[in-house]
Subunit: 421 residues, 4 copies
């Protein structure tokens, strides 16, 4: 494989190509192929961007049809038939059945852009600057979003501009299993000299992906919603990684039965790996004036097209959800087994997750890296997350075949044993 | 045309659909078609994103071939054959012939993201926080980029977070034609109590698009480069709108013969309207550590594919450049004629621009709006820019046929006469 | 009493004259006299600025002598005999006996100025911007200091500039008596994505005055020092209110046996109510370059003079300390008795404090206000503190006579009974 | 002279003691005496703090009388007879005769504190965050004020927190004598994408002291006032150094006949070198709520006392003003002569100033330092200002005797000749 020009010309900022130093060429559903023809099972799925697998044929056909018709590809925020179709499908298949009513903002086709738009709107709507965010949260790296992202790697690389406008509070479980971290939040809200500026909004992931597959409790989320309501604070769920079916429901917050004021989606939203994002806004909060937030690629019609096709194929009934939940249990069972084996080797390990967003926490990043490196040798692409990279995480396509899922789990289990023996 | 759901569900932030309230369905090169089958000549071209026209068949074929092969669509920052091909083509056809040596950072597929990455890298590389930017500059609206963008519309909609990290200086011509605004910059640099924190970088558009087709002088740019060199300040050219051939050269700064330290491109970079951006970095400035800046869609391989195809089709020799320059003169001539006619009506007007980035300044936004509204009635999509929207601007596809170009200009001329008579 | 011009001409920002709407004329030790000749016992003492009482004759003589000699009054940061005498006395009587070695920075004669200088130096010395501060902390209201002050009243009156550069953590006891809040701090320090930027320094009051006479435990302070050492973080003790003997030691941190890297003093430092402040700096941290921090009144020689006299009269041996501790126990005993009586009325109340910095927490500000209003009627000036003003606090002069102390306590006790019956 | 302990214990931040490395002991009017009994004529006067000379006997008596009566020294913001007397005197002798109506805010006894309060109030009153300030302006170094101060020495020593909330514009004359810098300001105000956030206020010194005795034109100030009125922007005159008679009028803005919305005074306000400051506020702008801005030393009654005495002794009629103006002409004439002589040596030099705030610009700091060093040898304390310290400035007491003034000028002239020959 020819990699010289890649090594020479691409910025040192590159990361994944360091863990997986091969040149990939093709992919189908949960399988990647490199230039030498070697196949890999994909438990990373574009960091949760390929919930429907690589090159999903059902979605691909809609894309090819649209291209064949010379439909509008790029349309700023023009009205197009493709956008209209997306909005109709979203309302019909996703919002209405869930009793949700939202307006839709297309802020530019990336997650960080959606977060910037969401928190800025919250500030404008409430007339307050502060956003409460949580330990180990990840919400993007452009400067507005970065203020809400916990990782020092990014926070320390701003070149002398401290972020502003956000306050970190402990996520569910952060202070141990016997402490409800919302007690602290509630105390601060009621404290006139506690140092917490009354927030415009709380920004939360129901399951923290980059933060280490940290799963918030359903009661915790419900209490969080209640606190927000009681204090006139907006609840923003960042569902960029956990949404689009990843946890076994379209929106991750459905499990808890809460209704966010604002929701951000991106990653798997287009269904085909195309850059796409939207912000869902409770209608009465849509305080934007025309053009107050813009971006060239806020009307990427190929993504409207594939996103609508995706909703139609996977979200017309609950069969897909149920299948994800079923596969989630398969992964959970195996991960528990693997974690137990690791425990027997004297290394504390545990399984956690929701739906097909699952991880094994092995305590430190070195051990996790050994495992994922061995897995790659064995034909499995799998990554870590967590503050120290201590969690081996499974973000396989939701559409993975049972055969590939089991083969991937077998490879992982074998790799763990090779790595830690 | 059914527009109810669009009006009901899309956020009030939408803008272009207010000026052009029809539903577009198809497009080819410089022609848009709405749902009723009406055709429009497109002098907006996705605000400079469709330099190669809508659904350019040459580029489309590369896209279809790639899709047919089930090539990697979404690959985070994995190495892929498509990325490698893009880098090779960029080096071979663009960088080498121009004597440029840059490393390439893919920061996420939008312009604002490229600007955030560029200025952050400059800060990290120089250990200084300040970025000098210019009156009427536009560089995006995420919080880091927004600090460098002059428009109050965006700056006042941050919800209580003043931007930080940038200082505005007068752009070329801002203080009248007899004042070289760089005198002020140079004086401030040498003044220990002038209030200008020594900048890490200067961020400049050689022609300001959103700011009103303001064209900086070539000597001004050369002097700016000289000042940067003398004071160890990086020169960043934001070529997102003016690059990719728009001014008659691939990079807009080629006219002045300057060599930026960092360049941002996006908009037309993919050639097909796909979200795509890169940051070009002088190799010695690539101070990024692995993963210090990230984003899910930094490896959109369809865009690598179309971008490479675009370079091969249009930039293998200088024929395309020369054709753009020729068309630019056609537009300039007609715009001068139109401006002269407007002047005869007692309204001061003037033409300006470089290449196919041209405008007629009619002095205020109301007049300009009348003209563009009339043009739309007459079948021409054309927009305004400038601080008050006082400049009617032509950003037609560079690939527009001579027939369509002339027809568009005829419509504009007629619309001006109808609007102002 | 003529108060019209005061009401008309003084800004609405005035506060204490609303609680005590009389015109004061004279004062001696713990007694204030108003224009009608009425006397009040002073349990406020200039919010801790008059530890040595009003117009202390021993200190006054030094002041008069200095004025008589036409000594330098104002000297920028000139060397003067008065400054030298102050430094010598400080070293001889305060630093050496306590085994402390500090350099001295005179940053301007107010507490907020001392805090600004202290945190800025910490940032410069460590090359990090973040300062950890605590819930209910008060450190001044100029913009740099305000970032570390918890009160919303001030934080919300910045007119659209969020503060920056500080992160609030829970003070000792904030999460209940069974939670060591430093567990949270330590967890955050070790967490690469917890959202806490590694701080340059921790800024702490050992007893929070404005925050409600919150007393940190000695072990907590020792552990805090240990955490700072372990993580290369500076420990700054803001001893502006709690220092100068208020807690029964010259420095409040002596009780815990910790050694801060930087100390701020002001309020009672001059001994006579003159504006004065200094910052004490571990010699190796004195990274200031000449003139990097300035201020016109950084050399107020009358204050050098009275401060030196104060040290000589009160701090040549430990008798004053012991006397303060004795009086502190008197106040504590009475406060406990009063709190118990309040409890009997069905209102939860408790006593707390260290030395002569003591309060009765009555649960809410309305009750506390009733008590202090009644006390003022009865001839006692006493104020509240805490986030809701729920703590009736005693900050009487340390030099108060036993007679006045007991009379003041009697008035308070009677006022409580009148107010709550 | 014993200076070891001073060198050892005082922070490296000290500055003036480096230029004048002697220990001063006494002073009277314009004469300083060091420990060896050597006398110096004082052309620095506490950087403009001692307009009425050192230990002015008339003011001293009021101070001694007050001390003798055991009047309140420190009173937070209690009403006291001394404060009332100050307000009455200020209204009667200063405000009424000048047709001014202001409310008075005592924000803490330093200039930087007054500036912080002034700009914060402006922001609160106008609901906008931005403050326009000018090149070479100096307004203090606490973080809020620092944003408006141009000197890099301070701006670069914040330890990683860029200032925010202010924009610098060119001061009168900054772009050469033929450019009215307000053209630029006015253009920016009218430009919706010029990058200037609509300011709450303009903060200006009519003569910049630290910036180099830069004198704004009276028409420039008038036009500035007009622009502020036209755009609903507040005009804040920072009269901390130029006020209190320094320019030949009590307020420096009287020369131009403008009426600021907010005025800051400090330095010479107490008349005796005591820390003191006030903010004058047009009554309708007094939007403070009780206690929104505080500070321990906001009621320093010794300063109220001496300030009132000063007003009575010097400002009951216009004789003092006229005397200052007369002396100003004496200094101006001699400075012109000296500048001419310097010019003859081939060094460009010029005189400038207003009243007794005057300087000789000798082009660079090295030459200026040679002159002031030589002057000190010859018994004259005189300092430099300007971005490079290139201006030898005279800030002698306004009360200086003609003999001392002439002797000082003679020493300076001789020193110039010795230094440059």
């Amino acid at each position: 494989m020819q990699t010289q020009i890649l090594e020479r010309m691409e910025s040192e900022v590159r990361t994944y190509s360091r863990s997986f130093p091969v040149v990939f060429t093709k992919a189908l559903n949960a399988r990647l192929t490199d230039e030498d023809g070697r196949e890999y099972i994909d438990f990373l799925a574009g960091a949760g961007t390929l919930n429907y697998g690589h090159n999903n044929p059902k979605i691909k056909q809609a894309l090819l049809d649209y291209l064949a018709s010379d439909g509008i590809v790029h349309g700023l925020d023009f009205w197009t038939a493709a956008k209209r179709d997306y909005l109709e499908t979203l309302e019909e298949l996703i919002l209405k059945p869930r009793g949700l009513e939202y307006k839709v903002h297309f802020p530019g086709p990336t997650g960080t852009n959606a977060v910037e738009a969401a928190i800025r709107l919250a500030r404008v709507a409430k007339g307050r600057h502060n956003i409460v965010t949580f330990t180990n949260g990840f919400h993007g790296v452009t400067m507005g979003a970065l203020a809400t992202t916990g990782n020092r790697k990014f926070r320390e690389a701003t070149g002398g501009i401290p972020t502003q406008g956000a306050a970190f509070l402990p996520y569910d479980g952060y202070l141990g299993e016997h402490t409800d971290t919302l007690d602290y939040f509630e105390k601060l809200l009621g404290d006139k000299s506690g140092g917490l500026d009354v927030p415009a909004a709380v920004l939360v992931e129901t399951v923290q992906g980059e933060g280490g597959i940290n799963v918030s409790g359903l009661e915790w989320l419900q209490r969080l919603e209640g606190i927000c309501r009681a204090h006139d604070i907006l609840l923003i769920v960042d569902d960029i990684q956990a949404g689009c079916g990843r946890t076994g429901k379209f929106f991750s917050f459905e499990h808890a039965g809460v209704t966010p004021d604002i929701v951000t989606n991106s990653k798997s939203l287009s269904g085909y790996g195309l850059p796409f994002a939207h912000v869902l806004i409770r209608p009465e909060l849509d305080k934007w004036k025309p053009g107050q937030y813009n971006g060239t690629f806020r009307g990427f019609n190929l993504a409207f097209t594939t996103a609508a096709a995706t909703l139609r194929h996977y979200w017309s009934d609950d069969s897909f959800e149920r299948d994800v939940q079923r596969k989630g249990r398969v992964v959970a069972d195996r991960f528990q087994k693997i974690a137990a084996w690791i425990g027997e080797q004297g290394i504390e390990a545990s399984e956690r997750g929701r739906g097909l967003m699952r991880g094994i926490d092995v305590g430190n990043g070195e051990i996790a890296d050994k495992i994922t490196a061995k897995a790659f040798e064995n034909g499995l692409v799998i990554e870590t997350s967590g503050q120290d990279g201590e969690v081996v995480k499974c973000l396989c396509p939701l559409t993975i075949t049972d055969e590939d899922l089991l083969e991937g789990l077998d490879i992982l289990e074998a790799s763990v044993k090779q790595a830690l023996r």
